[in-house]
């Protein structure tokens, strides 16, 4: 008992000391804390939703001091507005501003809030589009989007299985390396997107830290899971396990992709272009190829293909729901980096699987593996060009 008490005391000691220091700074430390220049307000418009005849704007006070919204302009015109719960927001406080503005669908809108001290904080919406509400119809539409860009392409890629099955060992090495190349491309893509989104979230959320935690967290978690599973499963099932790991990794990545789909709607960044969906479908088909490569030397029952396809593709649907109805940039950064970490862990598994105990870099250095890796990059790059059209 006394050892436990001692343990608790030794834990609490620094905390108590810290509390005393903070109390001192708050009461007597004014000369230290006071600054000759007053701190500057900072408000961020986190979201602008276009509802019938009304623009709804969410504002976050991510500055060091309370701030008050005094006036609102839309496209350089002072406009009537109402604000809840309060025009004055404490630090980290939020408010919702309703502006009865006759916005024009498909046109850019600049929304600015002017604080009581005259500072102006703006948000430029590139294309105003009606905000979806979580109705069955909208859920259905987002699900449909997810099926088209996520699920169907993955299943199409799985159809390469009979082809892979007829290949010799050398060619399998090539396709596994190609898979690694595809995955590295996907991982970097997710990471790049995570950094991009983190650039537009308030500093307060520390986007880079979220990315580091998300990437490392999912990378290490998947390692732990695969170690646990590989001990339990019979020795011949390494290919199976790997296929599922790849599927999970791609699924997490596609969750991030789904988020972007949904968010693109509410952020008003959607432009018309049906042929781009086709391009994207072609691009994502490569994901299915990556999943079935490790299965080439086994005879999996059909239901496994169903599961592998769903695990990889269905998260796109879930992601698009989250992104469409409750989009948040910080959450998006987290999801994207989790996806990236998962992908990188899968890359590691793939290479180890084909290295058969040899050092990973040495395995990659063989002409077959190296050219497979390069072809993987190239395939992703070229199919991305459809997307870029």
């Amino acid at each position: 008992m006394s050892t436990k008490l001692r343990l608790a005391l030794t834990f609490l000691l620094p905390l108590v000391a810290l509390g005393i220091l903070v109390a001192f700074l708050l009461t007597r430390g004014h000369t230290l804390l006071g600054s000759p220049v007053p701190p500057v307000e900072k408000l961020t418009i986190t979201r602008a939703l276009f509802r019938p005849q009304v623009i709804e704007v969410r504002v976050l006070n991510n500055g060091p001091i309370p701030a008050s919204v005094a006036q609102v302009t839309v496209n350089e015109a002072l406009w009537d507005f109402s604000i809840t719960p309060n025009p004055t927001m404490p630090r980290l406080g939020q408010a919702v501003i309703s502006i009865p503005y006759p916005w024009v669908a498909g046109e850019p809108h600049n929304i600015a809030i002017i604080t009581a001290t005259g500072l102006k904080f703006q948000k430029q919406v590139e294309i105003a589009a009606p905000a979806p509400s979580p109705s069955p119809g909208a859920f259905g539409l987002f699900a449909l989007l997810g099926v088209y860009v996520g699920v169907i392409p993955v299943f199409l890629g799985l159809l390469w299985f009979p082809f892979l099955k007829r290949l010799g060992d050398q060619w399998l090495d090539f396709f596994m390396s190609l898979t690694a190349g595809l995955l590295i491309f996907l991982g970097l893509d997710a990471l790049k997107e995570a950094f991009e989104v983190s650039g537009r979230i308030p500093d307060l959320f520390q986007g880079v830290a979220i990315i580091a935690a998300g990437t490392a967290g999912s990378f290490l978690l998947l390692i732990a899971i695969s170690q646990k599973l590989s001990k339990r499963l019979p020795s011949g099932s390494a290919g199976f396990l790997l296929a599922y790991m790849i599927s999970i990794g791609i699924g997490l990545h596609n969750l991030g992709e789904g988020l972007a789909i949904g968010a693109a709607y509410v952020l008003g960044e959607v432009a018309l272009g049906a042929f781009l969906v086709i391009g994207f479908t072609i691009h994502n088909t490569t994901e299915g190829l990556a999943i079935v490569s490790p299965l080439a030397q086994s005879k999996p029952p059909l239901r496994h293909f169903l599961w592998l396809g769903l695990i990889a593709g269905a998260p796109t649907i879930l992601g698009s729901w989250i992104g469409g109805f409750t989009y948040s940039d910080p959450a998006s950064v987290l999801f994207l980096s989790i996806g990236a970490g998962a992908i990188f862990q899968v890359v590691r598994e793939v290479i180890r699987y084909r290295a058969r105990g040899a050092p990973v870099l040495q395995a990659l250095g063989t002409p077959v593996n190296f050219s497979g890796l390069l072809c993987g990059f190239l395939l992703m790059y070229v199919t991305s060009l459809f997307v870029a059209a």
């Binding site: 008050s68 006759p102 005259g118 979806p132 997107e193």
Partner: protein, 334 residues
């Protein structure tokens, strides 16, 4: 190359076509993609509420306030007018809720409208109680040492400007310490009106100083106003009578933007450029003034009702430079 996700942003519309109707319906029936041009509630102007007074500053009172100074008749018959002007730093409200750390003459932006008659001897006792050096530079004819350019008045200093008011017309005064742009946009200016010896016909007279406020100090105005408060006369229309002669002394002290303008709805006015001539220059409904330019407008309303006036730069109008005349009384003419 556009990334996979950027593609999503641009390419989604294609998939959207698969279910666009569904989404449009779920978004609240905005199927046409456009909303009616009128404000949601059908009001002519969708502006936030504006209080009637801002501390001790009442723009409605300012509109018709003229400072004639302390008047003395000198032995030679000349009228001596003495004015007191104090430069003081003051936080003012330029739009409801929006504070601006101004530099002011006598605590308001614009400063008081100084009024006299041609030939009067003027003594302007200037005290600088502000945190920066200032002067008063008057437009009009006077010696160089009364021009407010070289005799910089430091904080706590005083200076007396003395000169004869000539010629008659509508002028202005402002601080002329460099950087001049800063001293003007922060609020050190006002109107200076010299009446002709033979007065203009009696009228309902108003001063309107057009200006702007760069509240976030980025070199662009956030607000445009007449007499210092955005949308004031739109929220509180100026009451006038049918048939009454209205004379507006219009001064442009907008900083950053090259020009400003005045447009009168459903009416025409006689324009007297700079007010230095009693013969009308033009009969029009819109006048454009460069920075520092001014003019006198005369008009009467034929019909009762509510009539708008505003800058004809729509941007300025919608950022605060608009107002109404509320015309009452019976129609004089059938």
């Amino acid at each position: 190359m556009v990334s996979r996700r950027e593609f999503l942003k641009y390419g989604l519309g294609g998939t959207a076509a698969l279910g666009a109707a569904t989404l449009a319906a779920s978004a609240g029936g905005q199927t046409s993609g456009h909303v009616p041009a009128a404000g949601a509630s059908g009001h002519a102007v969708m502006i936030p509420k504006v209080p009637r007074t801002f501390g001790d500053f009442n723009p409605m009172a300012f509109l018709t306030s003229f400072d004639y100074g302390r008047v003395q008749r000198l032995s030679d018959g000349t009228t001596l007018r003495e004015y007191k002007i104090v430069a003081v730093d003051k936080e003012i409200e330029v739009a409801p809720g929006v504070k601006f750390p101004a530099w002011t003459y006598n605590g308001t932006v614009p400063g008081p409208t100084l009024r006299c008659t041609e030939g009067d001897l003027l003594r302007v006792h200037f005290t600088n109680a502000g945190s920066h050096p200032h002067t008063i530079h008057f437009h009009g004819i006077h010696p160089d040492n009364m021009d407010g350019v070289f005799e910089i008045v430091p904080t706590g200093g005083t200076f007396t400007y003395e000169f004869h008011a000539e010629p008659f017309g509508l002028f202005l005064y402002h601080c002329h310490v460099m950087p001049i742009k800063a001293h003007i946009h922060k609020g050190l200016y006002g109107a200076f009106l010299v009446d002709p010896r033979q007065p203009r016909p009696p009228a309902r007279e108003m001063i309107m100083v057009m200006n702007g406020f760069d509240t976030d100090l980025d070199g662009e105005n956030e607000f445009y106003t007449v007499n210092g408060v955005a949308n004031y006369y739109a929220a509180h229309p100026i009451p006038v009578k049918v048939g009454e002669l209205i004379r507006v002394y219009l001064v442009n002290l907008t900083e950053f933007d090259l020009i400003n303008s005045f447009h009168l709805h459903a009416n025409m006015f006689r324009l007297y450029r700079t007010g230095t001539n009693l013969t009308q220059y033009e009969y029009t409904d819109t006048v454009m003034l460069c920075q520092g330019e001014r003019c006198v407008l005369e008009f009467t309303y034929k019909y009762p009702g509510k009539y708008m006036f505003h800058a004809h730069q729509s941007e300025f109008a919608e950022l605060g430079w608009m107002g109404f005349f509320e015309v009452t009384g019976s129609t004089g003419v059938g």
